[in-house]
Structures are given as C-alpha cells and as structure tokens.
C-alpha cells in the first residue's frame, strides 16, 4: 500500500518537474530582446551575433531547442550565466550555502516562536494574550518584509548599534576554509570562536526579519489546529478523568495538532528561499537571492531559469518527503481508509 502511494507520488513529481521545465522554457522565450545580442554585447558585429546564435542553437526550431534544453537539464547542465560566464549550476552552488544558512536560521525562529505563540493563544482563547498574539500574527502576515528589514536596520544597527548592517561575517577576520559553506558550521569545525560569533551576529537581523513573518503564519495555524483538537471528544474524556491540563495540552492535543503543521513546513521553507530574495537584497547577504535579482535586472535568462528550476525541484522534493512523512504520522492514510 505504502509503496504504491510512494510510487504514485514519484510519478507526480516527475510530471510536475517536466511542467516546470516547459513553463520556464516558455517564459524564457517571451523575452523581447535577442539573447545572442545580449551575450555578444552592444558593439559586436552582426557576424559575431549570428555565430553565437548558431552556437546556442537559437537558429533551430523552438521544438528542437526545447528538446536540446531538456537533454542538457537531464545531464545537469543548466546553461551558462550571461553575466558571470560560469555554469549556472556552479554559480548557484557558490551562493546556495549562504541562503540555506539564512533560511534554516529563519525557519528555527519561525517554528519555535510560532508554536509558542500558537499554544499560548489557543490555551488562553479570547483572553488578552490570545488577542495580542492574533493581532501580532496578523500584522506579521501583512508586513512588507523589505520594510521590516529597514526598521530593524534603523533600530538595531542605526540607533542601538547591536548588530552589523550587512554581510555574512566581519571582512577583517582571517577567512574561513570553505567546508560546508555554512559559516556557523565551518567556524565550529575550524575551532574559530571569533568567526562563529561574527557570523552569528551578522545572521541575527536578516534571519529574524525573514523568520518573524512566517512566525505569524505558524502561530495562526497552530492556534487553529490546536483549538480544533481541544474541542474533540478524547480531550473531553481526558479532562473528565482528571488529567492535568498541561498534560492534556502538551501530551495529547499538541502532538495531534502538529500534524497539519508539517505540511506547511515544507511549503514555508520553499517560500523562505524566495522571500530571501528581498531580505538578501537589503542586508547585502551574498546568497542566491542577490544573484537572481542581479540576473533579472540584466535579463540573464539561463540564471533565472536555472534558479526557478532548482527551487521547483527543492519544492517538489520537500513536498514528496512531507507527503511520505504524512503516511507515517497519520495511520488512517496508511491503511487507505481516508484518501
């Protein structure tokens, strides 16, 4: 049963990824300027432009171009960036660790804060804590992230001077050896407390900025699903046999309420990778977001498509993992009782 479900999910994954490739290819062909001209530069002669056009296969039919594109992708070739002249995959690999470090830190803030606020809100339903949490959560969802980042900079860098304004690490420190590309991990491995501290202080502002907004989403979600659980018959039974309230909430209701939350986690992580575009731009964080922003501004289409496909893959794989995790979390799905 489980194998069959997993196989179905895998087939879906392949289908969705193919759709992503078709869609991104289509978008790249909407481009009004001539990509060959873009690569050759404004002063190149007509022959050079023509040569590049032939080299890149732009002289072939759209259908042929598409299949060449798919063939390249299957070999892990995402094309060459027009601005950096490097393979897109290599560029993304260079910038990915910074973004992953930022997104993971933000996710930790969002998950811990979101669960805490959501539980408080549900337990004290309709009290002042609940109302406060609801307003804060809702404001979080409605806050432009780029604006929140500016407020943070104004307060914590400009006025209080607690945290640096941008970058990943103090540039005057001796450089870290690149092991994982995650500065916090690398500095621990290299036994460099100075680098660790510097990386951590640089991470605080961008990660909180990215995390706080998602924290609001999580708090709302936890509140709603915990209230739903607390209204169920088994909770009434536990309460009526005199089980302590904290054991009812933390021992029984919360674990069940977290199941729907798991689905949201994957989606939110993928959303954070995109939200990072804006955050990275403001904090000068050298990640994929800054790279892709640069690419959109210079119409570097191989880079844009490469990034979109990679995010699509991450998104699809996370969804798959979560769907499978779900099968284990919810026994009803496993037995096929509920579709």
């Amino acid at each position: 049963m489980i194998l069959k479900l997993v196989a179905r999910r895998l087939a879906m994954l392949v289908f969705v990824l193919f759709g992503v490739v078709v869609l991104t290819f289509f978008i790249s062909r909407l481009i009004p300027t001539d990509p060959a001209r873009l690569i050759a530069g404004d002063f190149a002669s007509e022959e050079v432009v023509e040569q590049i056009r032939v080299e890149l296969g732009f002289d072939r039919s759209l259908f042929e171009q598409f299949w060449i594109h798919v063939g390249n992708l299957l070999q892990g070739d995402l094309g060459t960036s027009i601005t950096t002249g490097q393979p897109v995959l290599q560029d993304l690999a260079t910038y990915a660790p910074a973004t992953v470090e930022l997104a993971v830190a933000a996710m930790m803030i969002a998950v811990i804060g979101g669960i805490l606020l959501g539980v408080l809100s549900a337990v004290y339903k309709d009290g002042w804590i609940d109302n406060l949490v609801r307003v804060v959560a809702l404001t979080g969802v409605s806050t432009p992230s780029f604006w929140l980042a500016l407020l943070f900079l104004l307060l914590f860098y400009g006025t209080l001077g607690w945290f640096p304004a941008g970058g990943r690490i103090d540039p005057t420190l001796a450089p870290l050896d690149r092991i994982s590309g995650l500065y916090l991990v690398d500095s621990i491995v290299a036994l460099r407390p100075d680098a660790f501290l510097s990386a951590l202080t640089h991470l605080v502002l961008p990660a909180s900025c990215l995390g706080l907004i998602t924290m609001g989403v999580f708090a709302r979600l936890i509140r709603a699903s915990l209230l739903e659980e607390l209204g169920r018959a088994y909770i009434r039974t536990f309460r009526s046999i005199g089980l302590a309230e904290h054991r009812v909430v933390f021992g029984h209701a919360l674990p069940n309420a977290l199941t729907p939350f798991v689905t949201q986690l994957g989606l939110s992580f993928a959303a954070m990778l995109t939200g990072a575009v804006v955050t990275e731009a403001i904090f000068g964080w050298p990640g994929m977001g800054g790279y892709i922003l640069q690419a959109t501004q210079s119409l570097d289409f191989p880079a844009i498509i490469g990034f979109t496909i990679i995010v699509g893959v991450i998104y699809a794989v996370l969804n798959l993992v979560i769907n499978i995790a779900y099968l284990f979390l919810d026994p009803r799905l496993r037995s096929g009782a509920v579709k």
Binding site: M12, F15, V16, G19, V20, V22, L23, T24, I27, S28, L30, I31, P32, N131, R134, V135, L138, T139, V141, S142, T143, P144, S145, F146, W147, L150, L151, L153, L154, G158, A224, L227, E228, L230, G231, A270, A271, L273, T274, G275, V277, V278, A281, I282, I292, L293, T296, Q297, L299, F301, I304, I305, F307, T308, V311, G312, Y315, A316, N319
Partner: protein, 292 residues
C-alpha cells in the same frame, strides 16, 4: 409562496452574519482600515497638496514640516502627495489582480469540477505545476521577460494568483455537484451553464469571497515587493514599494521617507487580512470550535 420563504430565510441568515460581524472587534478594525484605504484612493489625489511628480530641487530631502507634512524626497517631491496618489495605485493593483484571477479562476475551476474527466485532470495538473513554483520567483521571471513595468507586474501576479482560485472553486464545485438538488436539476436536463451559474458559483461564493479578500492583502504586498526590487512601477510613478526602495538610501537622515509608504502598505494589507479573517469566521461557523 415558496419564493417568499426562501427570501425570508436568506435574509435571516444574512442578518445572523451581520450580527456576527458586528460582534468581532478585529473585523471592525479591518473594515475601518480598508475603508480608509479606499477613501484615500478615491479622494487622495484630489486633496493632495502638491503634484506628486512635480520636481523642486530647492526643497530636497526636507524633514516633515507644516508645508510638507511628511517632508520631501530627493527630488523635492512632496511625500504626502505621493503617498496619497500611491493609495490609488496599490489598491487598483490589488483589486484588479484579485478580480481577474478570481473570476477567471472561478470559471475554470467550477467548470472543471462540474465536468470532471480528462479536462478536470488536465487543469488540475496544470495548477500543480504553477503552484509548485514559488509565486514571487515566477512573477519576477515573468516580469523580467516581459519588461519591468507596473502593467507586466500586474499580469504576472494575476497569472500566479489564478491557480489557487481554480483549486478552491473546483473543490466547492465537487461538493455542490453531488447535492441532491443539483442532481435533480441535471436530471431535468438543465444545461451546464445553468448549473454553473445558478448552483455552483452562488454556493462557492462565500469561500471565494473570503479567499479573494485575503488575497488582496497578499497581492498588495507582492506587488510592492516587485516594485521595491525595481520590477514593477517605474519612476516617476508614486508607488509605495518603489518609494520605500528610493527612501531606503536616506533611512538615517530622513526616516519618514521610507517608513511612511511602508506603513501605508502594512495598514492596507492588515485591513484586508482582518476583514477576510472576520468574514471567514462569520461565513464558516465550524472553524475554531465555535459550535461548542
């Protein structure tokens, strides 16, 4: 006679909904915020003290004063006037994108749900593809390809927002389709158009209205982010996201410049989110253990 009772029943349930709405302070706050944004959009440009694009280099980057309540920007343009004009742009973008995606999405989704079969499957797989890509990246790629402009950003966001609406409408259609009265009217030979317009869409309306209201807030934020990144509104348009982007460079010397338009975005989006939330509670009584 039957019609009269039907009407009476509907008006009573509407009355209950209004009671419910009036009882929720957060929802009332949302309504006030949205109303403020709408009024600003309607009369703002009329009462704005200056022309939002009039450059006056003698009064560059002035702090808030009696002459310029919010101060001026780097080209000496009055920030309050730009803010008021921006209300019209942000609201127009938010509402038009949602109207476009909701109407197109509802028709496609409801039709797919009603018809089922390969058409339904094909439409659902297409929405899977679009939904598997993060909206902002898709919108960025689209806008970059079409050329950065407010109109192209609007198109891109509408494209990204539609699949969610399709799914919602389809889900509603699937529920309604199996109701006895719909099956009865199908047996009587009612055409699909009739079932779609008379049964499915009216029944799906509450859920769609809630989703649409919440979407306006999200879309206003997304459009502002695109403009902030330079992919949406182009100078000299007074758009809030673009204003924050410009004001960012003067954050420490003239904090009101980037903060005021951001606050306007926050207030407008909060309004729509509170309103959508309240509507959801009122129209969907099962939520949050209300029926205790």
């Amino acid at each position: 006679m039957r019609i009269v009772t039907g009407l009476r029943r509907r008006s009573r349930s509407l009355g209950l909904i209004f009671d419910e709405l009036a009882g929720s302070p957060l929802m009332r706050l949302g309504a006030v915020l949205v109303a403020t944004a709408i009024i600003a959009a309607l009369v703002g440009p009329l009462v704005a003290p200056y022309d939002p694009t009039a450059i006056d280099l003698d009064v560059r980057l002035q702090a808030p004063s009696m002459a310029h309540w919010l101060g001026t920007d780097e080209l000496g343009r009055d920030l309050l006037s730009r803010l008021l004009h921006g209300a019209r742009i942000s609201l127009a973008i938010g509402v038009s994108i949602v109207a476009l995606s909701a109407s197109v999405g509802t028709l496609i989704g409801a039709y797919a749900g009603l018809k089922g079969g390969w058409l339904d499957a094909a439409i659902m797989r297409a929405t899977d593809v679009v939904l598997s890509l993060p909206g902002l990246v898709m919108a960025m790629a689209f806008t970059a390809a079409l050329g950065p402009s407010l109109f192209n950003a609007t198109l891109a966001l509408a494209f990204v927002a539609t699949p969610g609406m399709v799914r919602l409408a389809r889900g509603q259609a699937l529920t309604v389709r199996s109701e006895a009265y719909v099956e009865a009217s199908q047996l009587y030979g009612a055409p699909s158009r009739h079932i779609l317009l008379r049964h499915i869409i009216p029944n799906a309306a509450p859920a769609l209205i809630v989703q649409a209201t919440l979407s306006v807030g999200a879309i206003i934020l997304a459009a502002a982010a695109l403009s902030f990144l330079g992919l949406g509104a182009q100078p000299p348009t007074a758009e809030w996201g673009a204003m924050v982007a410009n004001g960012r460079n003067y954050l420490t010397i003239h904090p009101a410049y980037p903060i005021a338009p951001g606050l306007a975005i926050l207030v407008t989006a909060t309004g729509f989110n509170l309103l959508g939330d309240g509507l959801n509670d009122a129209l969907n009584p099962r939520r949050e253990g209300r029926a205790k």
